[in-house]
Symmetry: C3
Subunit: 310 residues, 3 copies
């Protein structure tokens, strides 16, 4: 069996079986980063272009390290300091990059739908590294891998996602994936930060964080975008922390086996305190570690690898 | 016969025979980017420094991909975020880079003459990636390659270059090269955008675009620098488009076999409309594709390769 | 004997024997950059992350070239254009990078002490590329190597360091190293630019530059940070140049065998004139060249190499 997909645009497109395949292969790729020589020749002579129209550290770095450990050549373009700021359309920019014969374009873009459009129009692989409020599929895959690694399975897990659901592509991708994998998802958010149509997502919705804590296996905190504070959404950091922050008091309410997750970067003292971020329950750095392995898997599969690693 | 040049500063320096050699070799290098493993070991262990004092996407990316496909190590420096902004002179910066033993410096600089000065003073190869209003030789070589690929020869081609000739290093390099190769060049521009001395360039000059279209084999549109609009040069985008833009009406006036070129990035709706940019006549993406191959050829030749690819 | 240090934080931590070892090995690594194929497989499959929170050209470039010539994979993060600007703490950022399994993090940071903290908390190698006013150890090592190369030994050399000692990590690292190696160090600075506690550094202090010139073997000029001019420290560039600049008159007062050094980037016309910078006494470009070799040595030693190069 070969991997049939040229692209990874969203978790919504993947079947449960495809997610299982990715998670299974990730374990093999994770092992490579523990070797003394952290490099395999799998993608030697392949060109991966990282096209980031939004600032990023961990995602860009994670993809770059993943590609290099597979021996691919990488080159990064960011919106600032490039002619992308000269008024060229994204399609023209992408067609230009395509003309240089990359094997894969990893793209982050501030508006939804562009990765999908590129996937349809370009012959190379497109991997979505986050598009607007739409999806961030590699984040959800590394999150699911981290849960499976911690709990053995995702089936039946009770996952609580807390924060700005409205603006969060991480939340959307996780909801799609977790539900396909049989988890039970609850959303905790101020009403102003719930997206329209959420009643069709198949999740429970709570506004009282404390009420859902004791039953949760995983509490996934979302980053507060500070630029959205003091707008219509909610009043200030202190009020947000009081109602929706994960602090020592709430950590103590958690099930003894439950885990804490956060996609980063964290605003310590806002959505999460030191007690929570640095507790033994935290999977936050496991998420980052697993991100490299998940991205190696996806680069490998998308660039035409078979399902057996050489 | 070995390639006698350490540097590539301008098309003005090259003989017709040298241009022919470059164009011939480009076909071999173009083939590499079509392979499954797009990499040859030719420049393994060589260091190529990309020193860009002006924003750039496609040129920097094209050189970087070209160097990596030849197995050279690359490192990029751009003016922003570097100590180049700390008031160091360009010569001191270049001497510093030279002290780190690069084999080649690819430089883009906002003022004319600096690449030539570096070529004289530094032992490594210098490739001019655009200096002020002077030259952009790799652009002209990829343009000529694209014409030769399309028409079989450059000799006798009737090429019309349209736009801001005054500020265009692309136009200057193309005029030098095309005339050496036996093409007939016409310039179409508002009088305010004709450089002094153009009567010595050996080109025809027209202000009425429509009058030259039917005879042209190639129409090469130049980018409008939007920051120059609404200055003394011409009034506004709409007026510019009306007199000098390539639109459906003008495409329909073209010879059935004629081609459209543009060095990018395009201002769609200003100097070129969708009808023209995306028509079957357009060589615009061929230009970008050929850019990688031309730059592989020049890196190969300048870094001491013989005229036979291993 | 194996190199016992995972990290390089400051010259203050190194013994004289360790400095001697580094300087000895540097000669072998310097030879690699003179080869036709400037690359050895020593660090193949290793990941080096360059984490620069301050603008830099030569130091970042020097480390990057050093790592690539040892076949390590490198990836650069700078503060601008990254989520580091999103309010994440430096420790969280560093822990995130660590989770991606780098073998070495090279860090430049605007405040003192962070590299040391990372070295204690992270299992990978940390190399300090400059932290606040604290240390810049690879600069001092390349300076000492350049002196030893020029004079055969550092023991007994009379080194004069001139300029803004207060804000200079270069001065601190050099004073620590030179004194361990048996040199005699004199400091020349306006009194406003002498740090508190300098009387414990074991150096001579002079405010009259001319008085110490004839006895010096090495005159090391420090860069004037132009943003500090016209503050309380000293009046203006002209006055600074008059009292503390190295100009033709002062070069003529130097011992016939004496050398001029500067860590770069130079402010020509402020702390150093063309006559001094470009004189035959100048070791300034030797310093840059030796910087690559010293950094290759330190990457090699820190990443677990034995004391014999393969």
């Amino acid at each position: 069996m070969n991997w049939p997909r040229k692209d990874l645009i969203g978790i919504q497109d993947l079947s449960k079986e495809e997610i299982i395949t990715i998670l299974e292969m990730t374990t093999s790729f994770k092992e490579i980063s523990k070797r003394d020589i952290k490099k395999v020749p799998t993608l030697r002579g392949k060109t991966v272009v990282l096209l980031f129209y939004e600032p990023s550290t961990r995602t860009r770095l994670s993809f770059e390290i993943a590609a290099k450990r597979l021996s691919a050549d990488t080159t990064s373009l960011s919106a600032s300091g490039s002619s992308f700021s000269k008024g060229e359309t994204i399609m023209d920019a992408a067609l230009n990059v395509m003309a240089m014969a990359p094997d894969c374009i990893v793209i982050r873009y501030p508006y939804a739908g562009i990765p999908q459009k590129l996937a349809r129009e370009l012959p190379c692989s497109i991997i979505n590294a986050g598009d607007g409020y739409h999806e961030h599929p590699t984040q959800a895959l590394l999150d699911m891998y981290s849960m499976q690694e911690r709990f053995g399975t995702i089936e039946g897990l009770r996952v609580v996602i807390v924060g700005d659901i409205f603006h969060s592509r991480v939340a959307r991708s996780n909801v799609y994936g977790l539900r396909k994998m049989g988890a039970h998802v609850s959303i905790v958010a101020p009403k102003t930060l719930l997206p329209p149509g959420i009643e069709t997502w198949g999740v429970d919705i709570a506004t009282d964080f404390d009420s859902v804590i004791p039953e949760a296996d995983v509490i996934m905190m979302l980053r507060v975008q500070k630029e959205r504070l003091n707008q219509q959404f909610f009043s200030d950091e202190r009020e947000y922390s009081f109602f929706y922050g994960l602090n020592k008091h709430r950590v103590d309410m958690m099930n003894s086996d439950a885990a804490i997750m956060h996609p980063g970067p964290m605003n310590r003292g806002v959505e999460i305190t030191h007690d929570a971020a640095d507790s033994a329950r935290s999977l936050i750095l496991n998420q980052v570690e697993n991100g490299v392995a998940v991205r190696m898997t996806l680069l490998y599969l998308s660039l035409g690898g078979s399902l057996h690693v050489d």
